[in-house]
C-alpha cells in the first residue's frame, strides 16, 4: 500500500503586485485505493494544490511537505515525480504541435516504465485503452491536444492515466466542460482504473455532478487555501443543497 501525505503545505505565486500566498496550510493523507474529493469555490486554491503536487515551476512552496511513501516529493523534479508514481490530469492540457499522440504516449510510457514497451503488446494495450474510453483509433495520429474538443482533451488525459498506471492520480476539474455522455465515459475510466490498479485518487472539482458517477470515500471542503471541513460522501450532499456559502462566510 502507498501513502501520499501532504502536511501543513504553504505555497505562493509571484505576481506583478507581489508575492501572493495561495495554499495556507493544507493537510491531507491519501492511501491506495481511496478516492478523495476536494471541493471548493472558484479561487479557493484547489487547482493550485494540484499543480504544486505535480511541481509546476510557477508556484513556490514556502513551508510544509509532500511525501510519497516517505520520499520527499518536493525535492523531485516534475518528471521525477511522475516516475515516482504521481499523475496530474490537467484542466487545460496544452497543445504540442507536430508531436503525435502515439509518439507522446510511447515516449511517456518508456520514461515511466524505464524501458520502451514491446511494440506488439503496446499497440494492443493502447487500442484497448482507447476503446474503453470510446476514442476513435485515428485519434492516435493527431497531434497532442491540437484541435481537440473539451471532451477529447479529458479523455486523452484519462487515457494517459490508464496507460501510465500511477500510484496516485490527481484529477483537476476533469469534469468541467463535459457533457453528460462524456462525463460518464470519463467517470467509468476513472472507476475502472481504480478497480484494476488500486491507485489513490484526488478528485478536484467545483461541482457535485461528477460524484454521481464516481463515489468518493472522503470529501473535503477547500476554502481560502486550506481544507476547512472533511467528511464522508454525505458532505457532498450538504454542498449540493447549500453550496459553499456556509464555509466561505465561516472562513472570513
Amino acid at each position: 500500500m502507498s501513502v501520499l501525505k501532504i502536511t501543513d503545505l504553504h505555497a505562493s505565486i509571484d505576481t506583478e503586485a507581489g508575492t501572493k500566498e495561495i495554499l495556507r496550510g493544507v493537510n491531507l493523507t491519501i492511501e491506495s485505493g481511496q478516492i478523495h474529493a476536494v471541493m471548493g469555490p472558484n479561487g479557493s486554491g484547489k487547482s493550485t494544490l494540484a499543480y504544486v503536487i505535480a511541481g509546476h515551476p510557477k508556484y513556490t512552496v514556502t513551508s510544509g511537505s509532500i511525501t510519497l511513501d516517505g520520499a520527499d516529493v518536493l525535492a523531485m523534479s516534475v518528471d521525477e515525480r511522475a516516475r515516482a508514481g504521481l499523475f496530474l490530469a490537467m484542466q487545460y492540457p496544452v497543445e504540442i504541435p507536430g508531436v503525435s499522440v502515439s509518439n507522446f504516449l510511447r515516449t511517456s510510457a518508456t520514461a515511466i516504465r524505464g524501458e520502451a514497451p514491446k511494440l506488439r503488446t503496446w499497440i494492443g494495450e493502447v487500442k484497448e485503452a482507447m476503446k474503453d474510453l470510446q476514442m476513435d483509433p485515428t485519434f492516435a495520429e493527431r497531434n497532442v491536444n491540437e484541435g481537440f474538443s473539451g471532451g477529447e482533451k479529458k479523455r486523452h488525459e484519462i487515457l494517459q492515466m490508464s496507460l501510465l498506471k500511477p500510484k496516485f492520480a490527481v484529477l483537476d476539474e476533469t469534469d468541467s466542460g463535459l457533457d453528460v455522455d462524456a462525463l460518464k465515459v470519463v467517470a467509468e475510466g476513472v472507476n475502472a482504473f481504480r478497480e484494476t490498479s488500486d491507485a489513490g485518487t484526488l478528485l478536484i472539482t467545483h461541482y457535485t455532478r461528477i460524484l454521481k458517477y464516481i463515489k468518493p470515500d472522503f470529501v473535503h471542503v477547500f476554502v481560502d487555501g486550506r481544507i476547512v471541513e472533511s467528511g464522508g460522501p454525505e458532505l457532498a450532499d450538504v454542498l449540493e443543497a447549500d453550496g459553499y456559502e456556509r464555509f466561505t462566510s465561516a472562513s472570513v
Binding site: 505535480a54 509546476h56 518528471d79 490537467m90 504541435p97 510511447r106 515516449t107 520514461a111
Partner: protein, 382 residues
C-alpha cells in the same frame, strides 16, 4: 487612374538584368536590402577577378557541365538583384540537371557543390521535361563564399522536387537566387534547409508560365552564434488557376543570431482562380537572437479561391515542457520532442528517409541534443 492601369507593385522586382551595374548600390534604405548587414557581404557586390567557378560532383547521368550559352538553359531568365547579376555575369559554365520528357527518375539526383576558391560563382539549372518526374538534392559547400543562381524549369505536367541543403560548421557566405518556372499543370516543390554559413541570403522566386501550376516552397532554418540568415521569397501569380503554398520554420538557438523571412506574394489581375497561402513560424530558444518576419500579399484581383498568410515568432513554451515532464519525460527529451514537433510538418515532406534523419540529426546536434532512441522519429501506427 483608369481601370486599365495597374496599380504600382511594391514587391515585384523593379530591375532584371545580366549586368550588375544596372542595379543600384545596395543600401539599407531599399526594401530588398533593408535587413542585410551589407558590411558583412562586402566584396561580394561586384565581380572579383580571383573568383572561381563552382566545383561539383554527382553520380547521376542526368548531371553535366555545359557552357553558359547552351541552348538547353533558360534563354530569358535574368537575375533580379545585384549579387545574382554578379554571379551570372561571371560564370562561363553551368551545372545542368537535364531530365528529358516522359521520364520518371527513381531516387534522388544528388549534386555536391565544391567551393574551389575563396569566392566561387555558380549557375545551376534544373530542366525537367513534360510529364517527367525528378527529385534533385543540391548540397552546398559552406567552407567558402559562394554566389550563385539556381534556375528550375518544371515542364508541363511535370513533378519536380528540389532540395537545397546548406549545412556545415564553416563560416562561408552564401548568396543565392533560386528561380522556378512552373509549367502547365506542373507540380513544383522546393525545400530550403539552412543550418550552416555565416551569412546566408536565399532569394527564391516562383513564376508560372501557363495555367494550372502548383508550387510548394518550404524551409527549415536554424541560426545561432553570429549567423545571419535571410530568406526573401517572391511568388508571382500571373496565370489563372495556379496554387502556391509557402511554409518556413526557423529556430534561433542563441548568440546574436538574426534571421529574416520576407514572403512577397503578388496576384496579378490575370491570375484568377488561384489559391495562395504563406506562413513563417520562428521559435526563439534563447534571449539574444532576433527574428524578423514580414509577409506581404498584394492582390490585383479579388477573383481568387483563397489567399492568406500567417507569421508568428514565439519563445519556447514552458507549459509544453511542464506537460511533457509531468508524464515522466526528462527535460532533455521533452525539449527534443518540442523541437522535432516544431519542424515536423516541414521535414516530414522530405521523402528520402536517410536525408530526413540526417537533417533532423544535424538540427539536434546544433541544439546540443544528443541523438536518442527515446524519441520516436515519426508517428507510430496504433
Amino acid at each position: 487612374m483608369s481601370l486599365a492601369e495597374a496599380p504600382p507593385r511594391d514587391h515585384a522586382p523593379a530591375v532584371r538584368s545580366l549586368n550588375f551595374q544596372d542595379f543600384m548600390d545596395p543600401s539599407n534604405r531599399e526594401e530588398e536590402w533593408k535587413f542585410t548587414p551589407l558590411e558583412r557581404i562586402s566584396g561580394l557586390l561586384e565581380p572579383i577577378g580571383s573568383a572561381s567557378g563552382i566545383g561539383w560532383a554527382s553520380t547521376s547521368p542526368y548531371v553535366s557541365e555545359v557552357a553558359i550559352d547552351d541552348p538547353r538553359l533558360h534563354d530569358s531568365w535574368t537575375p533580379t538583384d545585384r549579387v545574382g547579376a554578379v554571379a551570372r555575369g561571371a560564370v562561363t559554365k553551368a551545372i545542368l540537371i537535364d531530365v528529358p520528357k516522359d521520364i520518371v527518375v527513381d531516387g534522388s539526383i544528388v549534386v555536391d557543390l565544391k567551393a574551389l576558391a575563396a569566392v566561387s560563382y555558380a549557375h545551376i539549372e534544373v530542366v525537367v521535361g513534360e510529364f517527367s518526374s525528378a527529385t534533385v538534392v543540391i548540397r552546398h559547400d559552406v567552407s567558402a563564399d559562394v554566389v550563385g543562381n539556381l534556375v528550375v524549369q518544371a515542364g508541363a505536367e511535370s513533378d519536380v522536387k528540389v532540395l537545397s541543403v546548406l549545412d556545415g560548421d564553416a563560416t562561408g557566405r552564401q548568396l543565392w537566387q533560386w528561380h522556378t518556372i512552373v509549367g502547365r499543370n506542373a507540380t513544383s516543390f522546393g525545400l530550403s534547409i539552412a543550418l550552416g554559413g555565416e551569412v546566408v541570403r536565399m532569394v527564391p522566386s516562383v513564376e508560372y508560365s501557363a495555367p494550372g501550376g502548383s508550387a510548394v516552397m518550404l524551409g527549415a532554418f536554424l541560426a545561432d552564434g553570429s549567423q545571419y540568415q535571410e530568406h526573401r521569397l517572391f511568388v508571382d501569380h500571373a496565370q489563372p488557376n495556379c496554387t502556391s503554398y509557402v511554409a518556413y520554420k526557423g529556430a534561433l538557438a542563441g548568440g546574436t543570431a538574426h534571421t529574416v523571412w520576407v514572403g512577397d506574394v503578388l496576384v496579378r489581375r490575370a491570375a484568377t482562380g488561384i489559391e495562395t497561402y504563406e506562413m513563417n513560424r520562428n521559435l526563439l530558444l534563447a534571449d539574444g537572437p532576433r527574428a524578423d518576419s514580414v509577409p506581404n500579399l498584394e492582390l490585383e484581383t479579388g477573383d481568387v479561391v483563397g489567399a492568406g498568410h500567417a507569421s508568428t515568432t514565439g519563445r519556447f513554451d514552458d507549459e509544453q515542457l511542464f506537460y511533457l515532464q509531468s508524464r515522466g519525460i526528462p527535460e532533455r527529451v521533452a525539449r527534443q520532442l518540442v523541437v522535432r514537433g516544431f519542424f515536423a510538418d516541414v521535414l516530414s515532406k522530405i521523402s528520402d528517409e536517410g536525408l530526413r534523419r540526417e537533417i533532423l540529426g544535424r538540427i539536434e546536434q546544433r541544439l546540443g541534443m544528443e541523438s536518442t532512441s527515446e524519441v520516436e522519429d515519426g508517428g507510430l501506427d496504433v
